[in-house]
């Protein structure tokens, strides 16, 4: 057993590519060696800006001999088959082995020296290395076939034990020599083997282990801040980046002119991070300090004084640029900036950003006017378990429970519209032009400074949220209205022009928009039929999409109709009158020909809206399923709730999922599931084949149709809602009667609980049926020869199943 060391030394490898390169090197190395029959279990990889290294421990000196067998034709096969096999294997008839009437070609492969395997494997790995971007260089690049590497490859160390593994790649011969730090030790050093590689380099000012460098950067940056009486603002992205830019990292703290602190702290932090890769610090009071920490790649002879001074100057120049943008932007009212959005194309089929802003503003306003987004505190809303009406949407929209629509008495709808109209204006400011990541945030600063209502400024700032998985979800009503409207518009707009995400392609980030909508709705307990909201959001988009398919003459009349229309049903006019007489609508007259254009348009419009709304809704619920699965909810529970269909109140849908998740593992939950399964199983087994109703009217849906339609309606009668049920024509057995009365008591409790959206209580009520169900099955025969008894008992079980299905489709639940 021996160790192998490989170092591929090159000009500076981009920091962002180093981690992936280490993974790729280990993976390709294992794969190449596995091909030769060498297992690799202990591989360590390192990356610095100038080297990519690998150490594989405990490799065998040589590979084991292997004997390979290839099965050939039967000895009885025609001679052509044998000839073919001999050609293929390159053997003679005498060299084949006859085993039980079949020829076998047996080749003995002797073991190979591991060094030989490596000498072939490494060049193969280097030639096939999957750099995200690679290049050619030097004399050899006269041919486009020359070696490609991330940057020019300069040297190779390849040592098995202490012996050089000899090979050559593009004129570079492997050896034992490498170079130390570019400035501290720009001379050759000779490596003995895997055992002294790390330490020899350390002696020459190279810390080859990226994790060690990361720790150094993290600790020393923190320490530098602490010594200045400050707290470092941690940033792992910056640690990784500086790690990839240094072989001998030395964090150094510097100060910048406090006058720059007038600029928003986010701008300073971003400038320092993105342009200069500096950390920033916090003062004791939590505000941003006028300090930065840069990471040098040398231990400077003067302790870094010159380096800090140089970096301070560069940062000052950057910050004065930022300050210039900030001061300039502040002078232009956002409303004036917003006018420039007319010049920015949002999407060729969806018009300009100004068009989008207009749609979002109207939608945000509508969401408030309809009472979908309200200014009421969360605790006043009808929510799961809150005891409010199940149709809280209608009660909220009446405005009753919320007499004061906004904290400052200003109309919430007006604020939402104002915020929406200004929300995208910062896209044309100098600062956002320079730092696109600051969109929203800068608009918020400018709005506040220009005297907009605080809620408007906050909405402009936060309306892109939530962006990522861990991002905060807005709760301020103005922000919620704008954020929701913005995301809804994006989502429905791209569906309207038939650009939904496909497979891994989601160029307009619609999945993110959908997730944002779901999280906004869930966090703010927004009670609404999502389908109707989607239809409202589609409105003008559908109209434009449909209009684009019409002839210009038809477009004219369609527009005319839309602008003047009193009734949305132009075909009623046709039905009532002579086809060639002029018709009146909203004070305008139409000839039949024109009217038919209008009808064509209106019908297409309605169809388009319904169709696309269905698509959007399906997409949204699909995202919700994925979101719940990602959050750790069992997929069968999600299916059980979503199988209910028809539910388009996302909050209630989620409440069911969460209640079910919590309930199903409890003792009650197990009881309910067990009871349900017994009832459902026998229904499945008994009912479909011999149901009297079914015999006459076999529906196309097979088994499924039985559940509702197949059963004798008289037997089902009265089971829904009021909990009273038909008297029987026979005397029920005790267990039967007991189950019936248990159900009579549990059902109304469950129904009431569902109405109150207390799904846990509903399930608990139904779980009480477990014992009576068990007793029922122990002593009562469902499949009684008397059809009346049989029907009645099946109906009883059906009642149980139906009651359970009011919560969720338990047949989807596993276990």
């Amino acid at each position: 057993m021996t160790d192998f060391l490989l170092e591929l030394r090159s000009e500076e490898i981009p920091a962002r590519m180093q981690a992936k390169a280490r993974e790729d090197l280990a993976r390709l190395f294992s794969a190449e060696l596995a091909k030769a029959g060498i297992a690799t279990s202990d591989i360590v990889t390192y990356a610095t800006p100038r080297r990519l290294a690998l150490i594989a421990r405990d490799l065998p000196i040589e590979t084991a001999a292997v004997s390979e067998e290839v099965k050939g034709p039967k000895t009885s096969a025609p001679p052509q088959a044998l000839e073919g096999f001999l050609r293929k294997t390159g053997l003679t008839r005498e060299q084949l082995v006859d085993r039980g009437g079949t020829f076998f070609a047996v080749t003995e492969k002797p073991g190979r020296a591991t060094a030989d395997v490596l000498a072939e494997a490494i060049p193969a790995i280097v030639r096939a290395f999957p750099w995200p971007k690679s290049m050619r260089w030097g004399d050899a690049s006269a041919s486009t076939e020359s070696l490609r590497w991330v940057r020019p490859l300069q040297g190779i160390v390849a040592l098995l034990g202490e012996t050089i593994v000899p090979f050559e790649i593009a004129g570079i011969a492997s050896g034992a020599a490498t170079l130390g730090h570019r400035f501290h030790h720009p001379y050759q050093i000779t490596i003995g083997g895997a055992h002294d590689y790390v330490e020899k380099l350390r002696a020459c000012h190279v810390i080859v282990d990226q994790d060690e460098r990361a720790t150094l950067i993290r600790d020393h940056a923190r320490e530098a801040a602490m010594q200045a009486g400050l707290e470092l603002i941690e940033d792992e992205g910056l640690v990784a980046e500086n790690d990839g830019l240094t072989e001998w990292p030395i964090p150094l703290l510097g100060r910048f002119d406090p006058a720059f602190l007038d600029v928003p702290p986010e701008v300073i932090q971003l400038t320092a991070r993105v342009n200069q890769k500096y950390f920033v610090c916090r003062s004791a009071d939590g505000t941003l300090a006028n300090a930065f920490v840069c990471t040098a790649n040398i231990a400077a002879h003067d302790g870094g004084a010159k380096i800090v001074e140089g970096n301070r100057k560069v940062l000052a120049a950057r910050l004065s640029d930022a300050k210039f943008f900030y001061d300039t932007d502040l002078k232009v009212p956002l409303a004036e900036q917003a006018e420039k959005l007319e010049k920015i194309v949002f999407h060729e089929k969806l018009g300009t950003v100004a068009d989008k802003v207009d749609r979002v503003a109207k939608l945000a306003c509508w969401l408030v006017e309809e009472g979908i987004v309200t200014s009421a505190p969360l605790s006043f809303r009808g929510g799961a378990g809150g005891g409010a009406s199940p149709h809280s949407l209608t009660s909220v929209s009446a405005g009753g429970p919320h007499p004061n629509p906004s904290p400052e008495g200003e109309g919430l709808a007006d604020l939402a519209e104002r915020a929406a109209r200004l929300a995208k204006a910062d896209l044309v400011t100098g600062m956002v032009g320079e730092f696109p990541e600051l969109q929203g945030l800068m608009g918020g600063y400018y709005a506040a400074a220009q005297g907009e209502h605080p809620a408007v400024a906050a909405a402009i700032r936060d309306h892109y949220k939530p962006v990522g998985q861990g991002d905060d979800v807005p709760t301020d009503p103005v922000t919620v209205a704008v954020s929701l409207a913005d995301k809804l518009d994006t989502l429905v707009a791209f569906f309207a022009i038939n650009e939904p995400p496909t497979g891994s392609k989601d160029p307009f980030a619609l999945r993110r928009a959908a997730l944002g909508i779901i999280r906004l709705v869930a966090t703010n307990d927004i009670r609404a039929g999502v389908r109707s909201v989607i239809e409202a959001a589609l409105g003008r988009l559908s109209r434009d999409a449909v209009k684009a398919t019409l002839h210009p003459d038809e477009q004219y009349w369609a527009d005319d109709w839309y602008n003047a229309s009193l009734t949305p049903y132009p075909y009623q006019l046709l039905d009532n009158g002579e086809p060639f007489r002029m018709q009146e609508n909203g004070g305008r007259s139409y000839y039949a020909q024109e009217l038919s254009a209008v009808i064509k348009y209106v019908v297409a419009f309605q169809q388009h809206t319904l169709e696309r709304a269905g698509d959007v809704f399906a997409f949204l619920t699909e995202r919700m399923k994925v979101q719940q699965r990602d959050a750790g909810v069992r997929h069968d529970l999600i299916d059980a709730v979503f199988a209910l269909g028809g539910e388009d109140d996302l909050v209630r849908l989620l409440a069911r999922v969460h209640a079910l998740q919590a309930f199903v593992t409890t003792e009650d939950g197990k009881n309910l599931l067990a009871g349900y399964k017994r009832a459902a199983n026998i229904l499945k087994k008994e009912a479909p084949a011999s149901s009297p109703a079914k015999a006459g009217a076999q529906g196309p849906g097979g088994d499924e149709t039985w559940e509702g339609a197949g059963l004798d309606p008289r037997l089902r009668g009265g089971t829904e809602g009021e909990g009273v049920h038909n008297p029987l024509s026979y005397t029920p057995e005790p267990a039967e009667a007991a189950l019936q009365s248990a159900l009579d008591s549990a059902e109304p409790r469950a129904t009431a609980a569902i109405a109150a959206e207390d799904f846990a209580a509903a399930m608990a009520a139904l779980a009480s049926l477990r014992a009576p169900i068990d007793a029922f099955f122990d002593s009562v025969i469902v499949n009684d020869p008397d059809p009346a008894k049989r029907s009645a008992r099946l109906a009883l079980l059906e009642r149980i199943r139906a009651a359970v299905h009011n919560v969720a489709d338990f047949s989807k639940i596993e276990g």
């Binding site: 041919s143 830019l245 040398i298 380096i307 560069v314």
Partner: protein, 311 residues
Amino acid sequence: MRDRNAPLASRTPIRQSPRVTQPLKKPLSFQRMILTLHDYWSEHGCLILQPYDMEMGAGTFHTATTLRALGPKPWNAAFVQPCRRPTDGRYGENPNRLQHYYQYQVILKPSPANLQELYLGSLAAIGIDMLKHDIRFVEDDWESPTLGAWGLGWEVWCDGMEVTQFTYFQQMGGFDMKPVAGELTYGLERLAMYIQDKDSVYDLAFNDAGVTYGEVFLENEQEMSKWNFEVADTDSLFDQFRKHVAECENSLSHKLPIPAYEQAIKASHIFNLLQARGVISVAERQAYMGRVRDLAKGACAAWMDKHGWAA
């Protein structure tokens, strides 16, 4: 092909040169810095060329870079190129931004194996002590949509300031480089501000006799900024753009790549002026750039064709 490499290869490694350890006492003036770079690259086998006598946005547009980078012939040259970027003008009020400034450009084809060392040697030559200053090669891939060119390389940082663009050209005018050329572009004013420890470009010592950069160029910046942004007659500019495009096509039809290329450069500069005047909309911008790119690519293709070099 060997002769060209001889002076490069025969030199002792730069880092052992005494200049590294003995920093210059007095910082170099702007003109002395240029002369030092000329001297350094001349010693390393480069032709010392003069600036191209036309307005251009970057030294890369000099035919000594674009056209000479194409084809198999070795080529080593260094030169100063004045660059014009009308939109970067600040009326002489910003200490770091100019609409007219200088680049020092070195082009070496094929790229020598010790290009990084040669480059660091030039920094040492102009007085940068690399054990006191933090020199870093930070990923920055270069692309010129107008030239149909791209390459991989770095921006070189000195104490956090970008002082040089270091690029291995991979394509020029849409053609693969055979062989690859290395290009170094030094920002002369930045480098001088750094060496002389000045906060404003206008305070730079232009020579050793007390003349500042501001005395030479401040008026130029003020007037040119006003003209670029406010005065230049846009009808005339649009007209000139069309004429240069037509003249480029005319030259191409006569198989004259160099005149065609010059017309493409002129069109490119007129486009930059139109941008500064704010009369080109976002949507039109792409179309104009595409037009210039087609011209430049056409000139490069004609150049390849004339020399009988295969793509």
